[in-house]
Amino acid sequence: MLLTLATFLPLLGMVVVLLLPKDNKNLIRWTATAFAVAAFIPILMITVGYAGGKGIPAPETLRAEAAAVVAAAPAAERGRITALLADARANTPTLREFTPADPKHLSDGDKKSLAAKAEIVALEKAGSYDAWHEAWELTLAAASPISQDIRYMEYGTWIPALNIHYMMGTDGLSMPLIFLTGLLWVLCFVYSFSIENGVKGYFALFLLLQTGLIGVFCALDFFLFYVFWEIVLLPMYFLIGYWGGANRLYAAIKFFIYTLVGSVLMLVAMLALYWKDGFDTFNLLTLTSLSGSFDIGFQTWIFLALFMGFAIKVPVFPFHTWLPDAHVQAPTAVSVVLAGVLLKMGGYGFYRFSYTLAPDAGISEMMVLLIGGLGLINIVYGALCAMAQKDFKSLVAYSSVSHMGFVLLGLAAMTTEGIQGSVLQMFNHGVSSAMMFLLVGVLYERAHHRDLDRFGGIGLQMPYYTGFAIIGFFASLGLPGLNGFISEMLVFMGAFNSETFFAGSSTVFALPRWIVYLALPGVVLTAGYILWTVQRVYMGTAKKEEYKTFPDLNWREVFSLTPLAALCIILGVMPQLVLDPMNATLDHLRAFIVAGGVN
Amino acid sequence: MDIDFGTIMFFALAIVAVVPAFMVVLARDIVRVAFWLLASLCGVAGLYILLGADFLGLTQVLVYIGGILVLILFGIMMTSKDPLHEKATASGKRSPVTGLVTGALVFAVLAAVIVGVGFEENKGVSGGEPTTTKLGEVLLTDYVLPFELVSVLLLFVLCGAAYMARRRREDAHA
């Protein structure tokens, strides 16, 4: 119930906002903010509850649902269904007809499969096939090692004709991102009070965006995930296209087309999984439970198709070119959520879908080198690009490219520290990049330009603002004591350790150490461009008289920046606040992938 | 290959059908084109009759020669200010190569199909007997529905053609 509330309260908010009179701007602003806060309440409850070990574990929910499905079947068929469920994995429905050449030479396994097949056919004749199929799905989902850490699960039938379910849940992987979404929306709405043009549409679309994002992070049915994924696209297009800068239309359609190409490929992969061997299911947990048995060829192309979808979103080099355009043109709050949460959809997708559905492909030499290599390019190339930027926002955008590279590097390493660091980096980057975009926005509202070379001496004029800026930029730089340091450190430790860790492994290809060596200069480059920026913008004397008239932060800006600054510091000192709740999830996930999906 | 009367007639009619067809394409004066078409259509009608489709042959004469061709000639006569003047069919010269190649390709493919297929297995009514009775019977029994539908088709197409050809009263007044 809590997850549903968190997901759909913003949608309700959108409807309410649309019904409000257009001219009463303050009413619209406050209503929208009220809904963002209202959605944040269940999110907080889930966050605290999950960290405290509350919430019903998914396997329990799934088993209860399976039992309910069996109980609802005709009494005559129940025994047959239960018998088939006893070894759900062995009795997988399959379209593959196998007719042995000589029945006398059947192996025991073949005999069992044939018997199961006959039972399934009998069920089909009796009209209970659907009941059995759903119970089978649920049983396998409950057995999946991925599902043991999922809690607050909600399950219901959505479209029986295509076997699509409303299945939501959260675990240590998605929970931090859901929390981040809820928080950023409240902050962004307060910050966005300065929007004067088309207020109603702006807040309505923003609320729709929130529904899409929380849905993306909660959905455990592939189809449901896809629908939420696509819902995110549309409001984003209009938010950039209507409220953006001079070149907004180009940036908006570029963002849209890039993402659409990726998502369409994802759709094809999703359908291939649905039809794979006649499983007929979009249930992610069921599919992960079966993924170990997929042949490597199938896994490789599933991995690549999903990779395209997620890599464009991250964005991974060479698919990153939409990002600077979108960021530079988008209004501040949109940039904030774009960098803060939207990019995480890609990283989240890798963990939740790519590696669980194609584990063998994920740990193969080709993919490790691909992901690790692209991560390396992202880190170094992104930092170099950031250094070359004249536009403040563009610089922050390229810093995102660089920082998301760490996510990939940790992922490719497949070690405990690497994965922890990688997921923590997603959260930390969400905090620090959101903060940086807010900081740029604050300055832009006053100066109406973002040219780095024309600033200077802001520190003297706006001391509070500069204080926040120093925290934000140094967190991004990876200064010890702030959050970015922890995650980057963990990623490097994990990546460095990969070769030692998987020394004797015949299945897992370890991330070669040379990639790590090559990535290290990225840290120096990051320090370079951030220090240079701080120097150019905040130090020295004001280059223009008008800079001396700039007022310091107003209450809205302070309200938006304070929680993020606090998070930067707190997580720099006590990273276990985030790490502890997600450790179990990530450990199980890692063990699952490394074992090639066998559990 | 024994040469009988039928074979001689076939080739004679085939020449009558094909050679004027070439001339239709090659001739530059549209009145000449119309008359070459007349010859070609006559040849085709003759072929139909030779093959035992007497009704089809006569229909060909009635409809194509009696109807359409005369209509074309009327059209030329009524639309031109000077009926005796030569009317070129095409303005400017085009390279015949593309047309020749395309035509040859289409001809080759269709000829290959027609020659290769065993049409003999589906030979229709035997030659010699008049087909009119049989056709009339079939049209009013097995094919009565298409036959009647064609009449509805003709009805509204006639009305539509009249509508298209009619000068609108508003135009006339204006």
């Binding site: 369409v264 | 097995d142 009305c159 539509g160």
Partner: protein, 512 residues
């Protein structure tokens, strides 16, 4: 002689009782032509109401025919009937589809500027005649009947395209339509004569049986099949017979364009699928060669149709990118949509060869969605066009403010045509892709996916214009009746995207 006449009498008597909807349409054509003469000056809209009454009566008769399965106007032989028409679920769906499209086009035509205060009896008569032709296309089980149905629908469409004689573009479109149409039907009838020569019959059942026992080589059959396909493709506005589409759609009055883009396409698909089923009967295998050298073979339909589908999508989507006229843009979009629909047919052909059998449900579902999204889009274009004279994409600037509901409706329809959730178009496309993946036409699914991304460019061009471009033009009043039509057309677009289970279930019932 006497015997055969008696038989004919019996066949006609039986056939007539199953032919009530068609007879009503034929009567409607005549009534409208006469009413136009007598009611002139009495009430300009009287003929429109007669048309509505006629279509509704035909619909009632059609509802009555639901569930029938009868091959009519034929002669029975020992191995099955040889009818002209087959009234079954499949035909029923497409007939209902065409009729509904015609019915929706009446209020659109009543609103259209070119038709106001003019004698419209002829137009509605043509609409009824085209509908009748499409009825025949949907139920034909004989190549002769299919050809006649196509001609029937085409003739009426040619005339309807050029109905506004003051409009040069319309006349030009009509003429182009006739010329391309004659070529297409000539090609088709050549193919029919070849196939007739090979199999000895034009009846689909006979053709299927003949292909089982003897036939030409695969190459020869393929030539005949492709020639016949050209005729059907013309009605579908699919590659390679799509050239007429942009000019005709742009030139024709918008209600006619709407009717052509929906009904004509559907009828073309229905007729083609029936023909295809003859080729792929009996598990999709048939024999090639003669006598003892016969070998079973599977005809290359999935490849032929899949190729046509791929080219249709690509040609349509690439062509649409540079269009500035809204109707022309939607014409190219409709070529692309024909490609997506052909994909469903290719999948059907591929499925026929497999134990699971061919599945027409994705095609049917996509057509249901297509009906609402395409007609919805054209409805908005009619309404806005007849009030502001808007023809180019730029004319729609600021529509989001000037006519918010109309813009919302058009926007939703465009998103649906693009295939974004949560609209009917998305679910339709999902089922198409899903079926393609299932039947190992992965290349086609990926191509369709890439095409979807390409199509976003031009659908968003219009969306961008409506919502992101600013315009100072005044508010447009659309009228209550138009709003009602909009609601009827657009609400299902959403319903088909969110709660589509019942319709998806239903669409399974309309196959063969």
């Amino acid at each position: 002689m006497q015997n055969s006449i008696d038989t004919a009498r019996k066949v006609v008597a039986e056939g007539m009782s199953g032919l009530l909807p068609e007879l009503l349409l034929a009567a409607l054509v005549c009534v409208l032509l006469l009413a136009d003469l007598f009611l002139r000056g009495v009430k300009p809209r009287a003929t429109a109401w007669i048309a509505v009454v006629g279509f509704v009566a035909c619909g009632a008769a059609l509802v009555q025919r639901y569930g029938a399965h009868a091959e009519i106007f034929g002669w029975v032989q020992s191995d099955g009937p040889r009818g002209m028409l087959l009234n079954d679920h499949f035909a029923w769906f497409f007939q209902m589809f065409v009729l509904a499209a015609a019915l929706v086009c009446v209020p659109m035509a009543m609103d259209h500027a070119a038709f106001r205060s003019r004698r419209m009896g002829e137009f509605y008569a043509l609409l009824a005649a085209a509908t009748l032709g499409m009825f025949l296309m949907a139920s034909s089980t004989n190549l002769l009947m299919a050809y006649l149905g196509i001609e029937f629908a085409s003739m009426a469409s040619y005339l309807a395209t050029a109905i506004d004689k003051r409009d040069r573009a319309g006349s030009e479109g009509g003429l182009k339509y006739v010329i391309y149409g004659s070529v297409a039907s000539g090609v088709m009838i050549y193919g029919i004569s070849l196939l007739y020569g090979m199999t000895g019959s034009m009846h689909y059942g006979d053709i299927a049986r003949a292909l089982q026992v003897h036939a030409a080589t695969e190459g020869q059959l393929m030539i005949a099949a492709v020639l016949i396909f050209a005729g059907f493709a013309y009605k579908m506005a699919a590659f390679p017979m799509h050239f007429w589409c942009p000019d005709v759609y742009q030139g024709a009055p918008t209600p006619v364009t709407a009717f052509l883009s929906v009904a004509s396409k559907a009828a073309g698909f229905a007729a083609f699928v029936r023909f295809l089923a003859a080729f792929t009967a009996h598990d999709g295998t048939f024999f090639i060669g003669f006598g003892d050298e016969k070998v079973p073979a599977s005809f290359g339909w999935p490849v032929i149709i899949g190729g046509a589908a791929a080219l249709s999508m690509t040609v349509g989507n690439l062509g649409a990118l540079w269009q500035t006229n809204v109707k022309r843009l939607l014409a190219y979009s409709s070529i692309a949509q024909a490609g997506y629909l052909l994909m469903a047919v290719a999948v059907y052909a591929a499925g026929k060869g497999q134990p699971s059998g061919g599945d027409l449900a994705p095609l049917i579902y996509y057509f249901v969605a297509y009906f609402f999204m395409n007609l919805g889009a054209f409805h908005v274009i009619t309404v806005i066009g007849s009030r502001t004279g808007a023809t180019s994409v730029a004319d729609f600037a600021g529509l989001g403010r000037r006519a918010p509901w109309m813009a919302f409706g058009l926007g939703l329809c465009l998103l649906s045509l693009l295939g974004m959730p949560p609209t009917g178009g998305f679910v339709g496309k999902l089922q198409l892709l899903s079926a393609a993946v299932k039947h190992d036409l992965l290349w086609l699914a990926i191509l369709a996916g890439i095409n979807t991304a390409i199509s976003a460019f031009y659908y968003f061009k219009l969306l961008k214009c409506m919502y992101l471009d600013r315009s100072d033009a005044g508010v447009i009043r659309s009228g209550a009746a138009n709003m009602a039509v909009l609601a009827v057309l657009v609400a299902p677009v959403l319903i088909l995207g969110l709660a589509f289970s019942p319709i998806a279930d239903l669409s399974r019932g309309f196959g063969f």
